[in-house]
Symmetry: C2
Subunit: 473 residues, 2 copies
Amino acid sequence: MASDVLERFRPLFQPRSIAVVGATDNVFKLGFHALTAVTAAGFEGEVFPVNPNAGEEIQGLKAYRSIRELPRGVDLFIYAIPERLVVPAVRESVEMGARAGVIFAGGFRETGPEGLRLQEELVSIAEGGGMKIIGPNCIGIVNKHARLNATFASPLAWFPEGNVSVVSQSGGMGNSILNELMDEKVGISKFISIGNRANVEFSDMVEYLSEDPHTSVICLFIEGLDDGGSFLKKARAASRRKPVLVYSRGYTASSSRTALSHTGSVASSEEVYRGAFLQAGLLQVHSGSEMAATCKALSMGGMPAGDGVFISTHSAGPVVAICDICERGGLRFPPLKPEVARAMASFLPEHAVATNPLDMFAFAWTDTTLYLRAADLALGQEDIHCAMAVFVTGGGAGPVFPSREYADIGRKHGKPVFLCLITPCALAHEIAEAQSHGVIALSSPEKAAQVLVNLKRGRSLLLREYDGTASFR
Amino acid sequence: MASDVLERFRPLFQPRSIAVVGATDNVFKLGFHALTAVTAAGFEGEVFPVNPNAGEEIQGLKAYRSIRELPRGVDLFIYAIPERLVVPAVRESVEMGARAGVIFAGGFRETGPEGLRLQEELVSIAEGGGMKIIGPNCIGIVNKHARLNATFASPLAWFPEGNVSVVSQSGGMGNSILNELMDEKVGISKFISIGNRANVEFSDMVEYLSEDPHTSVICLFIEGLDDGGSFLKKARAASRRKPVLVYSRGYTASSSRTALSHTGSVASSEEVYRGAFLQAGLLQVHSGSEMAATCKALSMGGMPAGDGVFISTHSAGPVVAICDICERGGLRFPPLKPEVARAMASFLPEHAVATNPLDMFAFAWTDTTLYLRAADLALGQEDIHCAMAVFVTGGGAGPVFPSREYADIGRKHGKPVFLCLITPCALAHEIAEAQSHGVIALSSPEKAAQVLVNLKRGRSLLLREYDGTASFR
């Protein structure tokens, strides 16, 4: 079963060879960007540019004037051609043994009855040849682990490698989520823009990613589902193995009209989707930014075992915001036990009271070891399941938060540690540095609090069979 | 009246000379960072380090062993000393003619009755000498237009100069808002962390900033108000002259407990505050990120004259998200008039339908002039009050959105133009570039939509007497 779905999609995600149909030297054509994307990503298999109008070479590679001239058995076909040429090209490819395809062109189901007919013809040809098609009307796929960028956007290969995979109906929205992940310093495994879903559905991708050893967290952006039943079944199975996050849009009159003419999907009522996602064990989020931040904590194995949070700070204002959001989200700040409070009081600065949340004033900004000593004591208390430190960056001109030692304290207690490092994105390398040690770092109090709330929501949803805490490093 | 409040706070915001009490060469002391902050910001007046244990110099400046040794009439005193030394130091300063002070130390009102007594003594001394005090228990103030950084954090001087001023009870939360503004490529005018508010209140700062010619938008972070009546009166007057945004926290049990022990404030019920803010004409936001993005549009004069939005895109997914948020926020996407639609249809790519929102598919990504021609036609329609283009960055390896020409079209029609430029913060220079031409650029669909919604909310609130549209460039 496992190997089955991985093998079925191997030609798509791990092709040995790629044909780019419509490849060209003309920078104003999509076919130029499609070929560039493949080669710039450092793909190591053979690449075959195809264009009937080509000379000897395209972008320095030997050019083929037709699909029939190609050697048999090319794995993946990327079609960067207008929609009226797509059906004949796919037919020829199937005859040449194609196993997988990516079709960028719009002009299919999303345009009405005529387009729907064209898409049905496409599906019938592909199915006849056992060919899996991503799109039409999409921006394609990326697999960092295979140096594969089968899109028309070279920058999509620049995202760092990691264990998060993103499936999006929309290329643009998928791109937006990838950007948020990049801003959070989270690496990706696979990106899949599935567009009109000729014969590859959300359910297929969820099943594939749940088996994929390079994926630890699955992120979905959904504008509407055709295969609701099948999707929910596969999603439920997936969410028992890995966290699955879902962000869904298209619930108002104007947005659902746009979604319909987009990838031919009709979103149903928001309530129906919400209930279905919940039943399937999917963690619903409400923006790309929230998805990325939550996904980061999950991808780092940061699921606390319970609702008790210990917060320490040198600046109370951000904690006021964090408490507002956390308390409304059902989290608790357990009081410190008398012996813990006594031990803490022995080293706290004047006027600081050993309580939770703990404010150590600017003293802790200059003497950052206070954070370490306080967290070590608090995490020893059994009703406290994680710690969050709040720290305003010194920006290289002031103190630096001791992330390495803080992470060690988390590991010692087997509990995740979070850092709300208040920093502009110009200093986001400090976020990456903290994460390299195992501290889950967020750049604003609102985001930090929302992540804790989402982890709480996720605990009951995601962990019915999958024990997320076990993966905590 | 106008010159009155400006003159009253001149020694604070435009001091001719500064004394740093507690200045030192010891990098582990706050007094080190306080002096560094003043000098590193490039302050052009005289700076006097004061420390009884000093040698001849501190950080290369002539050192003074006591406040009494200083020349008379130093404008601003920065106290980087423990709280037990504060009262005597302020008394001496007043005797030496001090006009303004910044006190970092905690240990006053926020710690209980004894601290409250100490703060009352402090206020009485200051008031007796006509001295304005920021703090205690704060991180101080910044005035970019006077190269003044009277905090203990050098990086606060690095924020670019602009026309937005921020007043925050909390230094940390103020810092978080400044970071969000920096990420949005918005420059600041003044930053004021007012802490315990000895004798400078929110109401004073709102009045001052409403008169300040360098401030176009006022941002407030409030954990609780003591001077509710006076504040609302001054805020109402200010919001008739300039947009005033407010972000308020401290409404749950844990957060109000933290706020109380923070700057001695008690937040009241959220509903009470919400109603009061609304009455005073303040635009309430719910995160630092939302504040920064909204503030940016206002600071660029981007208030549309009505609710009609024209959206154009090469990627429909982000528009689905934008429509969801905008439609729920009461915005409209007026249908294109037949003659506008006809004119647009003449140049749109195959399958693209001349409608609002307008999807031009990937064609518009390679031929970006489509955005310009579409916006020019749509903005000519009188029930359309602004345009938003959605564009996924080419990241330097693909097409670039034509911001300069797009801004020109906005100016031609006298209507603001927005760009949802989907980009990671690593490429935020593209945001800055777009803004330099007059395009209001936001990096995610959710943020872009929320800004439009907030401008709509603000239109009825802020513009009762102040005509924001007139300031559109």
